[in-house]
């Protein structure tokens, strides 16, 4: 990945995240302000990105919607990664029944397509913030269990772990002092990729109507609601899609850059 591209991606990411944070205390127009005269208006000086089917300002909607999408993904990531990493480390620890159980658990979750999990949860919780967060984090737990347990298993076989045992450290100390730090770069890089994936899942959930409930905007929901007006005013579909696509792409490019940074870093350390 050339340096310029990743710099541009970083800038875009920074701008979009700042935009979404700014929406907490300032949006160009109030987010829910309905102005029926300006219904389906295209891009203009008054409304930079046009108006949607109720005459709401699309720029304000996008700012708040991006914040909602990001907050769902981040909270799902925090929940999923904590549980997943702990379970994954456990799974790498013992070769007995617990490991078998945890591995089966992650296989079990993988067999459900994530939208199916969402549908089952939505019967229980109704749609909304909690539902999307839980759905995404259940999917993430399975992913984390799988790759953390494999990575940690490889490190248990390293000679320096046996050296640490000989120094008199017990298993828990080794787990905390040696295993966790050495898989941390991997976890960080994976988390960024998973962040972009969970943004995609969130958008798909809102898109079939299982994400945020109606007054709250989200990028996927703007697409879902704008679908009917696609023929008359394509911009109310295309603008949120472009923003969503650019955001996800920027996140992925930054993740790629970070992973190449870590691998470089690691090669240097290994050759010492």
């Amino acid at each position: 990945m050339p340096k310029t591209i990743s710099r541009i991606a970083g800038c875009i990411l920074f701008i979009l995240i700042t935009m979404s944070l700014v929406s907490l205390f300032y949006t160009p127009y109030p987010v829910h302000e309905i102005n029926i005269h300006k219904r389906l208006n295209s891009i203009s000086w008054m409304h930079w990105l046009g108006n949607d089917q109720y005459g709401r300002d699309i720029l304000s909607l996008i700012m708040r919607g991006l914040l909602n999408s990001i907050s769902v993904s981040v909270s799902a990531l925090l929940l999923g990664s904590n549980i997943g990493i702990i379970l994954g480390l456990f799974a790498s620890l013992y070769a007995g029944g617990i490991t078998f159980f945890i591995r089966r658990l992650s296989d079990f979750i993988f067999a459900f397509p994530s939208l199916i999990i969402a549908i089952m949860l939505s019967l229980w919780l109704g749609s909304g913030y909690l539902n999307s967060t839980l759905t995404i984090s259940i999917f993430l737990i399975a992913v984390y269990i799988r790759f953390v347990s494999v990575a940690a298993r490889n490190i248990w076989n390293e000679p320096y772990i046996q050296a640490a045992y000989l120094c008199g450290k017990n298993t828990w100390n080794i787990l905390y002092d040696h295993i966790l730090p050495s898989i941390l770069p991997l976890i960080i890089v994976q988390s960024i990729t998973l962040f972009s994936i969970s943004i995609i899942i969130e958008a798909s959930l809102s898109f079939i109507g299982l994400g945020f409930v109606s007054p709250q905007p989200s990028l996927g929901k703007m697409l879902y609601e704008g679908q009917t007006y696609f023929f008359m005013a394509p911009h109310i579909i295309f603008i949120p899609s472009i923003i969503l696509g650019v955001f996800i792409l920027a996140v992925q490019i930054c993740g790629q850059e970070l992973s190449s940074y870590f691998s470089k870093h690691y090669n240097i350390r290994l050759s010492d």
């Binding site: 079990f108 993988f110 067999a111 459900f112 397509p113 994530s114 939208l115 199916i116 549908i119 089952m120 949860l121 939505s122 019967l123 229980w124 972009s196 995609i200 958008a203 798909s204 898109f207 079939i208 109507g209 299982l210 697409l223 679908q227 696609f230 023929f231 394509p234 579909i237 295309f238 899609s241 969503l244 696509g245 996800i248 792409l249 992925q252």
Partner: protein, 300 residues
Amino acid sequence: MLSFSLVVFVVIRVIPGDAATLILGIQADDSSLEQLRTELGLNKPFINQYAQWLYNIIHLDFGHSRLHGVSVKQLIKERLEVSIPLAFLSFVTMCIIAFSLTLLATLYKNIASCINVYNFSIIALPNFILAFVFIYYFGLYYMILPAGGYPDQEASLYIKLTHLILPSLTLSITQAAITTRIWQASLHKNMQSNYVLLARAKGLNTRQVILRHALRSSLNPVLGILGLQTAFLLSGIIIIENIFALPGIGTLLVKSVYSRDLDILQNLIMLFILTVLFINLIVDLINVRIDPRNQAFEDR
């Protein structure tokens, strides 16, 4: 499989509370609620209900949809006539695209970076964005293909097929990008191994080396990812059918979530999961056929 069915049953039947209230609404009086409960067998203990459901499934009796007024079996069968061709078509297109892109990228080094950038950006985009672009250009702007919907049963095969082209293309392009990426990496790794060196020393050119030797052994991780991708493909089908307004199982699923049609939901979700498990099984079996080394790991 039993444990899957138990989870599905518990989540759908037990957790959302009283199914009778869900169907009749909160204002319903007690006597009609009681009558419906007896009719649905909700008065029986939980184990009995579960056993009854399993018994019915084994006898291919999937219950009755209260909303559509027909048996779930017939409903699902009708919907599958749309979804199976869609899935099959997108799978075939996916294989063709992935195969040609991989070969191109491996044979011609200067195209490879273009293909990499293309793959990277396609993977990053959710597939419904692609769907909108397709609908806009092919369906509305150039009017080549229908933008959505599905013809009646009597329509000719050709017309039905034209309605499936855009959805399957949308589904397959995203999937193909992931497959290409993995296939390309695996092929690249194989091209640096000793047996390829030997084949070159024998005097074969690059094309012959790839087609005769490297391609087969590079298939192994690709098949592994194909099993995982069926889960993504099914999620994709749910979304894409909703965008293109195809009357397939995806739209049925979303619709019955809104109308709380529990009989359909229960059986459809089971169908989805069984499909994923079944395809994963097939993939594992094929994997053993292609690469005999895997037999050693079978009892993992």
